[in-house]
Subunit: 646 residues, 2 copies
């Protein structure tokens, strides 16, 4: 490397020549990528559906089961309610889809709940949406992976005892793949998603055919019902409770609104059409599964999933078609977890860029992905799985409440946006951080659509919180505000820092009138003299200080200093309590108290650097202690002069 | 404080004014003491016996029992051998006592095995003695406290399940007392020791009286014998094995030779007489207990100690006299542990002063005791007790082998010393670190006495290692050489350090021809400018470096630098892999490679110091990483310029 030193050139730009070496990380996650390598690729509707639908579609794997699980409290006779409840959920899906359809057209640059709430409702709602979404992404991973493992364990019951380890191992793998940085190449996503759709169409189709020909039958050897039915009557509370559990089916619907930029132009239109398609597939699939599950009298169980019972009843055996259905379901569930691994780091980087999360989350790692966010998500989701023993039923009460909170905030934000648009003059345009406001003749109807959506999802959020409070929803109800408070306190810290670092009203920095150097020494040797030499290069005002425990040793040092001390003053501090750091600190502080404004005191500490780190155990770490103790005293700078020995 | 600045005065001495504040430590271990407070007090023979005998006398509490424990393998009939074996052990005691008597007169300044071996045999034997003794001090604590707890549990069987916690708690208390620094005020020691002697004389006296009047009887309800006798025949191996276990009685005999300086003048004479007294009391007490234990048919057991069985048989009940005997025994055992707490830190400080253990062990803490050694001993002994579940029988095989190794080395060293004295001219004196060699007409006889002692203890050491190898002695046989190797490697490190720091052949330190300063910046703000101001005070050759990940940010910095940069050159390093530290390091290393001899490069790192430590989580710790990465590069000094915010 040549460093050019043209006279008068004050700012030199050049490329760093550092080449990351190969290491175990290269082997694990691939060679580092340059920033310029970032891909720019857009996708069409068919691939878009595959990329963004996995989260939403995968919830059909557990939604029906979780409704049954609640109804079981009122006895198996209550299972008949599963279909009407599913219809109510699909109605809700229709409302939310319509509402998001408008968001997609309003925010062609990506309209996640966080952005919409930030632009239209303010910081508090935005951070609430952020906290709710981040919590929910963690839960998406935990629920999807747990459900995926449950499918595998249904097919191979021998794996049941290892489900926690399996789930954590799976998260680790997904983490690695994401650290590598999956190029969303479409095809990788399209194959499993369409494979899932295909097997589902076959299974559900066969199911309906057998139903109408009267050959469907019921589940052979159903798993035991773990829940003892307490009351025979179906109360409204139980219905609402079951409904809340079923709303997990709606999670993932918002995915497309976050990723509009990935679509080919006209992207809003393409994304919008894809959303409609996704909602229709999701709705009909969910309804079919709920209907058929009722017909075959599937039983909710931790040991065998409803999907497994349905598939083996429809296909009359655990044959190839059954295996295909189970593996497709497992794969789509893992893909859903993978979606969260894309969303969580992206959203946390967005929040961090706004200064509400540690700035480090905005750095992209060697593979151009937000690696810290990915690792954080993997760790948190694994903890949840260990804590809840990979049980979908125990995780579900925590899930979906965050999604519905963000639905509500996003749609309320949209309603507010239409209100603002209604105030505009015709032809007027107002640019906001996330989008541009333009006049719209139909703003009133559109506001009504989003408003109604917001109303419905608010209602569902409350039903959810009420019916599932004791099941675990209280955890989220405490966690989300706590996170919001944390976000704001981080923000306050960054703001204060920015203020105190700001150069506004900052005059010419004053010169340093006097530069005192203090050199603590424990003996007179090459290390000390090397530090002395450095100290003298800094200033003419150098004082060496020796804290003495042993008068004999102090006398030796005095004599040596007279020879080697180069005329520099030495203060020997007698320490009657045999303490080393404290008397020195006291001495330094006294000198610091006498200093003039802008005067600087530098403490030059000679420091051995032994070849092997554990040799440090054989030395007192004076420099370290001084640094910690003097960190908060202004005007004091500590310099270690390392002396490499051996 | 006034700092006097007389012109021409190059070395100023003064008293540090630091007063240690009150804290929880004051409450726990007392207010700090000044070095001048160290006590200088000498003791007479009666008190001396009390101070130094507890370790030796306490072993009578378990020695007989451990002999029986081994004999039990050959069936209860073998218990008859306990008395002859005890006589052999007392004979060994007589030999060792005679030998140590000579050491006391030869080393009036204290003649522990370490010093004697160091002065006469060389470093390897000295360090072996040191390692053996340190190991044994740890075992003294573990064995004595375990035996003390066993006595309590014999009297109060309800405490049996809690013996490990009780033992660890007791060690913690002894540690606290020693951290406080017990002034060896004599009386504190005299009361329990003489109380123990008194109760023992009463118990043993009553026992003999009852024996000769034929009213002694045998143990009522003896504890069950846990050992299933395998062979009926008493083999020589079993006898030797039992003998080895019994030699634990000799531990502590060396105590007086370590502490001669504590005696009144003529100290060698006083110490010598005390040693004879101690040996006589120990011998007769041990013999009596062994004899009476045989008569009452005491049974070795983990649940009730032999002492307890003996005392309740002799006193015909668990009355006051029984209680007195048990509590006196418990107290003397704890006092024995306390002795190790005095010896271990002192010996480790001695070894550390010779450079074979970390130097930190030579510092005396706030209460003038070697606190680090005390804490280390407590931790190690507690670990042993937890590992061996406070079982004396399981600890005994590890014990005593170290003591006998040190006996051997000490006496061999003495023999060597007499040999050296034999070579002296009449009237000639040779000073050694630990003592002065003076001619002695009887050097041949004295050499013979010590030589014979060394021979006997060598024999016992081998018997011990052979018979107890599989019981656990192998642990010590591996541990001791390992420790010796460790000691020597520590020594080598200190020697190398001393050589590389030595000022011999060290000319005038060269001037620094050029002082380059590099200032890494992440932005242009008050913190950076404060660091820039400092950098300019150090040298005229300052270069600021910004590692750029984001070109927009870099452009902002460039513009600000043109205004605020004070004409200093700024290098913007484009980092294509988005790494911060590595390109900077590479840049610094390149500059370092171009440096001239003796040129110094200082890296000035602006560092935020937030008010709360956890705010550091919100910042990248560049300074820390740079420091760690550049520690081993000579000629580079790193300076943090702290900027306190908030």
């Amino acid at each position: 490397m040549k460093i050019e030193e043209e006279p008068g050139l004050r700012v030199v730009k050049r490329m760093a020549e550092y080449q990351p070496p190969r290491s175990w990380r290269t082997w694990l996650i691939g060679r580092p990528l340059q920033t310029a390598d970032a891909p720019h690729q857009t996708i069409g509707k068919a691939i878009g559906l595959a990329v963004f639908a996995s989260d939403a579609l995968s919830s059909t794997a557990y939604a029906t089961q979780e409704i049954l699980m609640i109804l079981a409290v009122a006895g198996t006779a209550a299972f008949g309610y599963v279909f009407p409840i599913s219809i109510a959920i699909v109605a809700l899906l229709a409302i939310v889809t319509l509402s998001y359809e408008q968001t997609i057209h309003a925010y062609p640059g990506g309209g996640g709940a966080y952005i919409v709430a930030r632009d239209n409702l303010g910081e508090l709602p935005a951070q609430t949406a952020g906290a709710a979404l981040l919590t929910d992404y963690i839960l998406t991973v935990a629920v999807s992976v747990s459900s995926g493992v449950a499918q595998i364990a249904s097919a191979y019951p021998v794996l049941y005892p290892y489900r926690v380890s399996l789930a954590v191992g799976m998260i680790f793998l997904i983490m690695l793949i994401n650290l590598r940085g999956v190029r969303e190449s479409g095809v990788t996503f399209a194959i499993p998603t369409y494979f899932f759709l295909l097997t589902m169409v076959i299974t559900v189709g066969t199911g309906f055919f057998k139903h109408f020909t009267g050959t469907l039958g019921t589940v052979v050897n159903p798993p035991e019902l773990a829940i003892e039915p307490i009351v025979g009557a179906v109360t409204p509370f139980i219905i609402l409770h079951a409904f809340s559990s079923g709303t997990a089916a709606l999670t993932g619907v918002e995915a497309i609104s976050n990723g509009i930029t990935a679509f080919k132009e006209p992207r809003s239109r393409n994304a919008g059409i894809t959303l409609i398609w996704m909602a229709m597939i999701l709705g009909s699939l969910f309804l079919s599964i709920s209907f058929l599950a009722g017909q075959v009298v599937a039983v909710p169980s931790e040991v065998e999933t409803v999907i497994s019972q349905l598939a083996r009843t429809i296909h009359s055996s655990r044959g190839v078609l059954y295996q295909a259905t189970i593996s497709a379901t497992t794969i789509i569930l893992i893909m859903a977890a993978n979606t969260a691994f894309a969303d969580f780091p992206r959203l946390s980087a967005l929040i961090a860029a706004d200064g509400f999360l540690p700035r480090q989350l905005t750095y992209r790692g060697s593979r151009l992905v937000y690696s810290r966010g990915i690792v954080a998500l993997a760790v948190l989701a694994s903890l949840l799985i260990i804590l809840f023993q990979a049980s979908v039923t125990r995780l579900i009460p925590l899930y979906a409440i965050g999604v519905f909170t963000s639905f509500t905030l996003s749609q309320a934000g949209m309603a507010r946006r239409w209100w603002k648009i209604g105030k505009l003059q015709p032809g007027e345009e107002v640019a906001e951080p996330g989008s541009v406001l333009r006049g719209d003749r139909n703003w009133q109807i559109k506001m009504l659509v989003n408003g109604f959506g917001a109303f419905c999802t608010t209602l569902v959020t409350f039903i959810f919180a009420y019916t599932k409070f004791t099941d675990g929803a209280w955890i989220v109800l405490i966690l989300t505000p706590t996170l919001v408070i944390l976000f704001f306190s981080i923000h306050r810290h960054y703001q204060r820092l920015a203020r105190s670092l700001s150069l506004e009203d900052y005059g010419e920095p004053p010169r340093i009138p006097r530069h005192r150097v203090i050199l603590p020494i424990s003996g007179v040797h090459r290390g000390t003299l090397s530090a002395l030499r450095y100290a003298r290069a800094l200033s003419d005002d150098v004082t060496a200080v020796h804290v003495s425990i042993d008068p004999v040793e102090a006398e030796k040092i005095r004599k040596k200093w007279l020879i080697w001390g180069d005329g520099i003053r030495l203060v020997i501090l007698d320490s009657p309590y045999r303490l080393l750091a404290e008397p020195l600190l006291k001495y330094i502080e006294e000198i610091a108290n006498q200093r003039q404004p802008n005067e600087i005191i530098t403490i030059v500490v000679p420091q051995f650097v032994p070849k092997r780190w554990y040799h440090n155990l054989l030395h007192t770490q004076t420099a370290l202690w001084l640094r910690l103790a003097l960190l908060f005293t202004p005007g004091i700078v500590i310099t270690d002069v390392p002396y490499q020995v051996d």
